[in-house]
Each structure stands twice: as C-alpha cells, then as structure tokens.
C-alpha cells in the first residue's frame, strides 16, 4: 500500500475501528453516571460478601444439618452480583439510550455510518471495561468472604475444584448482562422501556416461574437467562434441575447473541 495516498488510509479498516473505539471510549466516560455506576457496582459486590458472610457466620449454629451441607461459600461470597447486575445492566441500556435521548446518535451515525461496526465496537468497549472491573470485584469479594467465614463455617480456596471458574465466572456473567442491556437498549431506544425489559427478563420472569407448581418451576426456571447464566458462579448447583455452569453460560450467551442479531438487523433499516 502506498502510504502517501490519503484516500487509502481513510478507508483502512484498522484506522476506522481504532477511531470508533476511541470515540466510544470517550462517550462512555463522559456519561456522567458511568463512573458512579461502576464504582457502585464494585462496592455492592464487595459489600454483599461482607453482609452475607457475616450473616452466615453469626447464624451458623441455628442452621439445620441439610442447610449446612448445602452451603456454598464461594457462591455466598459472590452473591452481591445479584444486586450489581441491575447497575451493570442499566449501564448497558443507558450506553445506547442516552445517545438516543440527547440526539447525539445522529452525530455518531454521521461520523460512522457503518452501523453494525459501530454497535460492535460500542459493545466491545463497554464489555472490556465491565469485564475488568467485575472480575477484579469478584476476586475482592471472594477474598473478603474467605476472611469472614471463620470457625465452624466452611470456606473455599481458589485451588478447590470449580472455585476459580466461579470467581472468574462472576466477571463473565456481568459482562454478558452489560451486553444484554446494550442490545435491549438498542432495540427499544428508550431508557424506561429498555430498563423495564431488562429487569422484567432478569427479575420478574424468575419470580413468576417461582409461583407455579413445583414441577413446572423446575422445567422453566433453569432456562431463563439470569438463572442459566448465574450457574457459572455457583460451585454447588442450587437445584438438581439446574444447568451445568458452562451450559448455562452458553445459553445466556445465546440469548445475548440473539438480541444482538435482532439489533443489527433492525439497526441497519431504522432511521435514527
């Protein structure tokens, strides 16, 4: 390639990708809520370990033998993720809908008319930030839990089978939730609608499934996105009907991929 031809450079894929990534990076951090939400996520994950692990330590003697046998120290340390998924999911939704709300999306699309590429880069940038933060937070929560679960309460170590997978899985799960939020935000293009859809799928569907007679719950619940994906940060399966960790994570990935595919198909046709 002749480096003196500016036209060639303008169309070169790596340059364009780098430029899009840089602009998405700037936009992510200039959304006023992003640093706050990310800090709150880390806080919630670690605080969850403190509250839950001290709760189990102080009440361990009052638990029945079967409850004690079912106790999963790794999962308990990581359960702040259940609260953090709302923050991370909302961040994913807002990463798209706030641009539609302010009208910035028109400038963005004028600068990068390659819409599929734009959304992919947006997802990659957000996913990388969320993955780094939530993986670090998972390790912090696990460490906090190991120090809090003392005395007769069993604790886990990273060498135990499945434990490292669960701790790393916490970061993978939250990354997929962020991407799910991004896809739903891009589908709905509205903050309240996007948030309602995401929270409806992650929180209200499992509640609804729980109201049904036991055998129907067992049939439906394991296949819901949140329940399936959360198996990756369990060491002991919560029910005999649960999917295996990697099957569950793959199913969640499939849900995210399906919504991303819907976005890419629609996004190319819809006006901004």
């Amino acid at each position: 390639m002749n480096p003196t031809l500016p036209a060639e450079r303008r169309h070169s894929m790596p340059t364009r990708l780098r430029a899009t990534a840089r602009s998405e990076w700037v936009k992510l951090w200039s959304v006023r809520s992003a640093p706050t939400v990310l800090a709150a996520t880390a806080l919630v994950i670690v605080a969850g370990a403190f509250v839950l692990c001290s709760g189990y330590r102080s009440g361990w003697a009052s638990m029945s033998a079967s409850e004690q046998a079912a106790f999963d120290p790794t999962f308990t340390s990581l359960r702040g993720i259940e609260l953090a998924q709302m923050l991370i999911g909302a961040l994913g939704v807002l990463a798209v809908t706030s641009e539609h709300g302010t009208g910035l999306i028109r400038a963005t699309l004028a600068a990068t008319p390659q819409r599929a590429q734009l959304l992919t880069v947006k997802g990659l940038v957000l996913g990388a930030v969320v993955w780094a933060l939530s993986t670090a937070s998972s390790f912090a929560a696990f460490t906090a839990g190991r120090h809090l679960l003392t005395g007769p309460v069993p604790h886990a170590s990273l060498d135990d089978p499945g434990v490292l997978r669960a701790v790393l899985g916490g970061g993978l799960y939250l990354t997929l939730i962020a991407l799910f939020g991004t896809a739903l935000g891009a589908l709905t293009r509205s903050t309240p609608l996007g948030l309602t859809t995401l929270f409806g799928v992650l929180l209200v569907l499992p509640l609804t499934a729980g109201l049904l007679p036991g055998d129907l719950t067992d049939t439906i619940l394991p296949y819901l996105p949140g329940e399936a994906g959360s198996q990756i940060w369990h060491v002991k399966p919560p029910s005999p009907h649960s999917l295996t960790p990697w099957h569950g994570l793959s199913l969640l990935t499939l849900y995210v991929a399906a919504s991303a595919a819907a976005v890419l198909t629609l996004h190319r046709k819809r006006d901004a």
Binding site: S58, G59, E82, M86, L203, L211, P213, D215
Partner: protein
C-alpha cells in the same frame, strides 16, 4: 359617590382577592387531577398491572389445577389456596411502586414541573394534592385488582382442590391486607420519585428493594440480627399483610404500622428536599 372617584374596577383594593386556602387547594387538586388523567404512561402502567395480576393469578391457579393429581401428598398438604392465589402480589407491588414514581418523575422528565411550581409556589400543597389523589385512586385500583385477580384465580380451583372465598375471614383479611400493601407501595414510589426525580433511578431502586434484596437476605440463618432487620424489609412487611404463614415475620397490625411509618419518613424527606432545592 362623587364623579371624581375612579371607577370601582380601577381602585387598588379591588384587585382580585388573594385565593383562600380552600379555593387554592381545590385549584391545585384539579390541576393535579388533569395532569394525572392525561399521563398516558400512568394509564398503561395501571392497565398492564391489572391485566398482569389477573393473568398471573389465572395462570398460577390453572396450572395448580392441571398438575394437582401429579403433585405429591406433601405438596398437596402444604397447598394454601389464598397464599397461592395471591402470589401475584409480589409482582403487582412493582407496578404500584412504578405508578407512584411515574406520577412525579414524568413531570421532571418533561420539564412540566417548572410550570407546576411556578403556578403553585406552595410546594407542599402540590405534593399533598398528588398524595391525596394517588391514595384515593391507588386504593380503589388496588382493591379492584386484588379482588378481581383473587376471585378469578379461585374460580379455577375446582374439583377436589381446596379453594377460598371472600367470606372466609382469613381470605378477606388477606385481600384487604394485599390492597393496603399495594396502596402504601404506590405512595412509597411517589415519595421516592420525588426524592430522586428520575424514572430510571426510581424504578431501579424499587426493583432492588422489592425483588433483589429479599432474595439475598431472606434465606440467611435466623440469627438475632436477622430477626431485627429482615422482617422489616418492605416486601416482608407486605408478606405479613397477605400471607398466612408468617413464621419469623412481623404480625399484620404492626406490619401495617411499620409500612405506614416508612411512607411517612419518605414523605418527610421528599417534602424537605422539595422545599429546599431548585425545581
């Protein structure tokens, strides 16, 4: 009267008298009612909440009916028609919280709140009018939703299955308790919305408080610390009001009192912030 006197309409004291508190109150109530009535998202939320509750109740009761002969003896013995029939309340509460929050956050979202506060600088009056309307409309909607969903659900429990009717004292209390829970949750949503002024934050907080927090802490061992905190979560106070198996939870009457206390504290916080900060 001498001809030099100015006409009555031009005299300074003839300017329209200051509105009496009663007239002002009625005017604010009217304007709040018009705003509430014209808010499309409020009607959609109310209608969706009603439909979802009735639908969920029918779905749950019908599936129990169809699975009844496959359920084990233990599951059948534990089946409680009122508790199962009212299970939808866990989800309906979210709609009522959203309803309350939307009644105020949409005004902040569109900027309408500036016009409202300019027309009525007596800010506590604005909040009082909203509260009164939401309480009246919310309790009527709550009672209609809970009774309709309960009755339709119970009508599906036929044959040898146990079922409840509104004449059973336990069931009547549970239905009234459920309606009270929904009404108070709506008010909590209103004051929360006033505090945070954003639909997204208000809805996320409500969901975190009513669906995630209970899942995280309900199953912790029942240590003294647990008994002094977890039963007082709003969702658990709600359970006290409509569920028959209270276990470690608060009795119904103190539960209603505590929930009302939460609403009062939220109202006081909302009022303080509303008075001190810019629109």
């Amino acid at each position: 009267m001498t001809p030099t006197d100015p006409p009555a309409a031009h005299r300074p004291h003839a300017t329209p008298p200051r509105a009496t508190p009663l007239a002002r109150g009625r005017a604010v109530l009217t304007s709040e009612w018009i705003k509430l009535r014209s808010l499309r998202s409020l009607w959609t939320t109310a209608l969706t909440g009603f439909t979802a509750s009735v639908g969920l109740s029918l779905l749950v009761c019908s599936s129990y009916r169809s699975r009844w002969h496959h359920l084990g003896a233990q599951a059948r013995a534990h089946f409680h028609p009122t508790d199962t029939g009212l299970g939808f309340l866990q989800i309906t509460a979210l709609f009522f919280g959203a309803l309350g929050a939307l009644a105020v956050t949409t005004e902040y979202g569109t900027g309408q709140i500036h016009g409202t506060l300019m027309a009525t600088p007596q800010r506590p009056l604005v909040l009082a009018a909203k509260t009164l309307l939401l309480f009246v409309l919310g309790s009527a909607l709550a009672l209609a939703t809970v009774s309709a969903a309960f009755l339709l659900g119970q009508s599906r429990l036929t044959g040898t299955m146990p079922h409840a009717s509104l004449t059973d004292p336990g069931a009547a209390h549970a239905v009234l308790g459920g309606a009270l829970y929904l009404t108070l949750t709506g008010l909590l949503g209103l004051f929360l919305g006033t505090l945070v002024r954003s639909t997204a934050i208000a809805l996320s907080t409500l969901l975190g408080l009513f669906t995630i927090l209970p899942v995280l802490v309900d199953d912790l061992p029942k240590s003294p610390a647990w008994r002094h905190t977890v039963p007082y979560l709003p969702s658990n106070l709600g359970l006290s009001l409509w569920h028959s198996h209270i276990g470690f939870l608060v009795r119904p009457a103190p539960a209603a009192g505590t929930l009302a206390l939460y609403v009062l504290v939220a109202a006081a916080a909302a009022l303080t912030l509303l008075r001190t900060r810019d629109g």
